[in-house]
Symmetry: C2
Subunit: 146 residues, 2 copies
Amino acid sequence: MSRVPIPDLPTEPTQARRFGKARTAQSTALAEDYAELIADLLASSGEARPTDIARRLGVSHATAIKTIARLKREGLATSRPYRGVFLTPEGEALAARVKSRHRLVVDLLRAVGVPAEAAEQDAEGIEHHVSDLTLAAFSRYLAKAG
Amino acid sequence: MSRVPIPDLPTEPTQARRFGKARTAQSTALAEDYAELIADLLASSGEARPTDIARRLGVSHATAIKTIARLKREGLATSRPYRGVFLTPEGEALAARVKSRHRLVVDLLRAVGVPAEAAEQDAEGIEHHVSDLTLAAFSRYLAKAG
DNA sequence: CGGCAAGTGTAGACGTGGCTACACTTTCCG
DNA sequence: CGGAAAGTGTAGCCACGTCTACACTTGCCG
Ligand SMILES: [Mn+2]
Ligand SMILES: [Mn+2]
Ligand SMILES: [Mn+2]
Ligand SMILES: [Mn+2]
């Protein structure tokens, strides 16, 4: 059963916990992107319609509608047939958090020398895996070095 | 159809491309983690068995076996019944790339002040979204500031 | 004000990545 | 050397996130 302790690897439970948390982060990523995008659309144009959301995400409108249904199920959004999508207070809170985190991640990447478009691109994925501790460190770093 | 240009948002095609790339990165993340882990297990103990892989990832052995089957389908791994898992040359190349990228991401996070365990934790997810351009910037930053 | 284009919604398919349950093979030790 | 424990494999379930196809509603404009 391989009971020899393996030197350079983390312990099994530690590694399992890390992978597990990464999986969780992944599963919330989509809701976070939708919330952020819906908030942006509402702020800049006053409405967030499924087709606009779909076009901006690069998916079919059917996919967008199904995901919006999940957001509603989870208490993050509301919508009535043919009437556009809105955020609940919880949805707005999520969007605000996600938006500020997104900005911080882009700023940190830029600060360590990542080119603008690469920073924007990579931040779209990275943001969902940045913990509060890491976010705080980014903040401190930017305050000091900025 | 909302043909008013929206000021603060990226253009629709730009944003769609970014989200699309993030989705692609996400879909390769699992294969990357498996390849890296299999290489580590082979290096440190000479064998990589489905149950060990499953325990370290924190999933059931059935899940691990199914994913290993996908790796085999994609030409990254080989295995014969009851005999453990090995990497193809392509699999080893992927593992090497992933491992060095993982290390760089952890080092960068540490360098900007992220606590050790948070860096290890967050890197597990972040690594899959770091482009070559960003990686190169991390490298330069560490060479300079390290 | 009527009709058509655009938008919306629903149904059904598919691949992935989880799980449990159960059957089979290997290994190891008494 | 035989049997129990550990490991392996398979089947079948589920939720998610994607798609295409088709039907229905809205809203605008001629
Ligand atoms: Mn994102
Ligand atoms: Mn974002
Ligand atoms: Mn990882
Ligand atoms: Mn890794």
